[in-house]
Structure formats: C-alpha cells, structure tokens
C-alpha cells in the first residue's frame, strides 16, 4: 500500500469507480435480472431493465430439477479440496523447508504441468477411464479436477511455508519432535492462510469445471451443475429465467468466496503468477 497518490477530489473518483464497476458487472446484473423475469416478458423488445413483474418461477424450477446436480458438485468440490490439500501440503513443506536435491526440478515440472491445456488432460483421462471403467463416476471427476489445483497448490504452500521461521522448526526438533509431528503440529496450523487459499481455489475450480465433466461424465447418473446448466440450455432454450436462475445459484460459491475471503483470492492470484 505504498503508492499513495495525492487524493484531491476523492468522491469524484469514487463516482467514476462505481460507474466502471457497474459497467463491468452489468452481465452479472443481467443474469440476475433475467432470472426474475416472467416468461412472457422474456422476448419483449426492448427488454425490461428491472424485474418489474418479478417471478420466482425460475428459482422454483431450480429447486425442482437442479438440486441433485448441485449436490454432486458439492461432493466433487469438497473431495477435490481434500485430495489437493492432502497431496500438496506435505509436498510444499518438503520443498520449502527440507529442500531435497532435485526439488528445483520438481518445481519446474509443477510449473510446466499448469501449462497443459485441460482438453489434453481430458482426452488422456478419457482413454484411461474407459479402460478402467471409471467414466461417469464422481471419484473419477474428483481425481481429474484435482489436476487443475494440485500444481498450483504445491507452489502456494511452498511459497507460504518458506516464510515460517526456521528457528521454530529447530526448536521443535530440539524438543524431540519428528518431522511428521513438526509438520502436523507446527507447520500445518501456521499455514492456515495457505490452506484457506488453496481450498478456495480447488473448490472453485472443481465447482466450475466443464471440460472434465462433459468429457468424462456425459450421460452419467450423477452429474455436476455445470452439465446441469449445459443440458438445460440444450434441451430448453425457452425458459431463460430458469437457466439464469440456475446460473445465479451456481454462482453462489463464487459470491461467498468473494465476500468471505476476498484477500485470499487476491493473494492467490498474485502468488500463483508473479512475485510481488
């Protein structure tokens, strides 16, 4: 927060800021607006700028039809978070504090892994899952979705755990704690912020995933909400209020994350991308 430019006409800037934000968020507003619009007003020209005759029929349709999808997405999201943290936190600790030979190479591989397009991973997974009979399974999607988050998570944990003072770990060692215990009772509790950051991203990415869902889970009994919306558009492009209501509901995790943990998101983006 060093760059404090002179702040003369501050309210004037706030006004511009509000205007810019409004322009940027117009599509989000429009989604909400349409979700409350009555069917018969949907094709009105010009469209209603406000849901003047608001209806909840869209949301009623969500409750009727989309709840199972939302449940599946929740399970997949939480499973992905658990798997990601379980794999990445110990790895981050090792890379940050124990610094094995070859750690640099591993870091390199992790960075490169993030550059592989999802569609390629999807095709490889499809070939493997087909042979294993793991297509259309929730577990399969959890594993596939975790590939979106694991390399990023290791990098975040490494960066964060590098900041834990070595004296603390040394003290634990002097007191007779083994590596496992040091990790579990000292490093992990101190890395709470990193755990939160990683979990947020892992959850959001798994929740939003469309590529893996559509390639590995098409036609399955338990599908995530992204497919729910996708099929909904395909089968039914009349009821846009219901489609947009589903979209609003599917956006709730993102909204929650933003309200509850905005600073973790910003930190995650920048740590994942560049040094300060």
């Amino acid at each position: 927060m060093t760059a404090q430019r002179p702040t003369g006409s501050a309210w004037w800037k706030t006004a511009i800021g509000v205007l810019l934000t409004a322009v940027m968020l117009f599509p989000v507003y429009w989604m909400v607006n349409v979700s409350f619009t009555r069917d018969k007003d949907m094709r009105k020209s010009p469209p209603n700028l406000f849901p003047t005759h608001g209806t909840l029929e869209g949301y009623r349709a969500v409750l009727d039809q989309q709840l199972p999808y939302l449940g599946t997405s929740l399970v997949i999201g939480l499973g992905t978070v658990a798997l990601t943290v379980l794999l990445a936190a110990p790895a981050g600790y090792a890379l940050a504090k124990l610094r094995p030979r070859g750690g640099g190479l591993l870091n390199f591989v992790l960075l490169a892994a993030q550059m592989v397009p999802g569609i390629i991973m999807a095709m490889g997974f499809y070939a493997i899952y087909l042979n294993l009979g793991m297509l259309q399974s929730v577990l399969g999607l959890i594993v596939a979705d975790s590939t979106l988050a694991v390399p990023f998570a290791v990098l975040i944990f490494t960066a964060f755990m590098s900041g834990i003072p070595g004296e603390l770990l040394q003290a634990a060692k002097t007191d007779g704690a083994g590596q496992l215990r040091t990790f579990w009772s000292i490093v992990l509790p101190m890395s709470r912020n990193a755990v939160v950051t990683v979990s947020l991203f892992a959850f959001l990415w798994a929740w939003s995933d469309f590529v893996f869902a559509s390639t590995l889970d098409g036609g399955g009994g338990q599908q995530p909400i992204t497919l729910g919306i996708y099929h909904y558009i395909g089968n039914n492009n009349q009821q846009w209020n219901a489609i947009m209501a589903t979209a609003v509901v599917a956006s709730l995790p993102a909204a929650l994350v933003l309200v509850l943990a905005q600073r973790y998101v910003a930190a995650g983006v920048t740590t994942g991308a560049v040094k300060d």
């Binding site: 430019r5 010009p46 975790s146 590596q179 469309f210 599917a250």
Partner: protein, 328 residues
Amino acid sequence: MNDTTQLPVGPRPVRDRRGAATAAPPQPPPAARRRPRSEQWAAWGFLTPVIIYLVVFYAYPLYRNIDLSLRNYTVRSFVQGDAPFTGLANYQKVLDDPTFVPALLHTVVFTTVSLVFQYSIGLALAVFFIRHFPLSATLRALFLVPWLLPLIVSGSTWSWMLNSDSGVVNAALHAVGIGQVDWLTSPAWSLASVTVANIWIGVPFNLVVLYSGLQSIPESLYEAASLDGAGAWQRFRHVTFPLLRPVSAITLLLGLIYTLKVFDIIWIMTKGGPNDSSTTLATWSYHLGFGSLLPAFGPGAAVGNLLVLTALGFGLIYIRLQRRQDSA
C-alpha cells in the same frame, strides 16, 4: 549435498520476503548449511505422494494422448486396445484438413486481441484503483466477480445478452438506430463475440496482478517526478510503465498460455461455429475427439498435442523470465 542450489524456482511469497527460499542465488553462498541425511529421507517421504500423483495423473494421460495421436483409434479399438500404429498419419491428416488454417488463424486472432484488451484495460483499471479513495478496495474486489464465476455461467449469460432477437445488446443498438446484429449465428461476428466475452473474463486477473506490481513501485519516484514537473501522463510513461515491465511481461505471458487453452467459453457460446468461424485449436481438438457421433480420437489428440507444444514453448519462456526475475 548443497541445498541452496535446488531452491524452488516457483513464485515467491507475497506476504513474506524473509528467508533464503525467496532469493534464488545462481551461486550457492559459501556458508550454506548441509542438510542431514535424515532430512533428505523425510523430504522424499513428504514428496512421494505428489510424485506418484504427477506420474499417474499427468505423465500417463499425456503419454496416452501421444499414443492416441499415433494410432488409428475407434471406440471399439479403445476398449480392445488393438488400434494399429500409424505414425504421424494423424498429424498429416490434421495439417491437410481445411479446418486447420482457419483454426490456427482464429487461435492467433482470439489470443492476440484478448491479450491486448485484457492487458490494457487491466492496466488502466490498476492505475485508477491504486489511488486511494472511498470504496476503492470494495470496488476493486467486485471486479473479481467475472473471473470467479463458472465459465458455463458467464458463457450462457453472454449468449443470452448477445441473442439476436431478444438480447439486451441488440436492444441497446436498436435504441441508437443500429439494426439487428447476429452476434453468435453469423460467421462475421462469432469470433468477435467470443473474444469480447473472453476479454471480460480475463480483465480481473490482469487488474489484480498489475495492481500488485504497481504497489511495489516506490512512492518517492513519483514525488521526484512531480518535483521535476512531470504531468500525470509523463509519470505514467517514464515511471510506471518502465518499472512495471517485468510484471507486465509475466502477466502477458501467463495470459497467453491461459488464452491458448480457452475452450469452455467458445464451446458454450458458439461450439466453434457457425461453419467453424469461431473454431480455435482447442475447440477443434475437442470437436474431433468428443463433439460428434463418430469420434476421431487420433486427429483430436494430434491437434491437442500441437497445442501442448505451443503452450509449453511459451511456458518455458515464462519459467526463464520468472527465474531471471527471482535472481535479480
């Protein structure tokens, strides 16, 4: 066994700058401590799960993908595993395909235009928001929304906004006397439409990263420039922009790698159509592999592998840049 030579080359902590791990010196300092053998063993113990994971869930799918691209696969031979080896025939087929050149061109246009706008809008917003004014932090946080939304949500919202008959965009154009534009259903506009949506999604990322870059420019430089009589534009041109160059380079490169693989938004909005007018390499690969009743897994994988090669090429540049910055 000198531990400081194998420092993580990855991103550095934002919140914490102490400790050797954040400064990757090209040469090990003389006083480097040796790590005891037991710590090495422990380290590998902690790393084993992730290494197995990387081999099974990254290396193996990638290997399967290469294998796929070198054989003549059908759904049946998938299960039986007896697809004949055809060498580079799939690649040849893909390069000869009439879709290849347009798809490549669309990829280049989509990526370049997205990057230019995402970066310049992101930078302008970052410069604007770095000044502190009431609500600035809250508004900046709100700008993250487009980036956090599931792509299926953004995609369908944009689809409806751009709908020819009932979309709000055409309604607005109508109000200023411009006739109906078929944003998603005419070949002339489909690529532009998906690009606009993609720019919208990418601005927040650029804003956040460039904002954090701006924060690290010392205020004293601006004061000095002001004393020398530099106006706002001159301060931007001669202080902000040059000092932001390393961050800009990395932002653009990461943006490039991300944009190359953009698939969801295009698929959701136009499926690459009409008539392949918004097909990129990523959507083409998906279309070949999964998009039709007669899947062409081999050629799909071949297109995908071309994409991987491109992305990894830029990825290597990114890693080099990152490393150079870390040791600077």
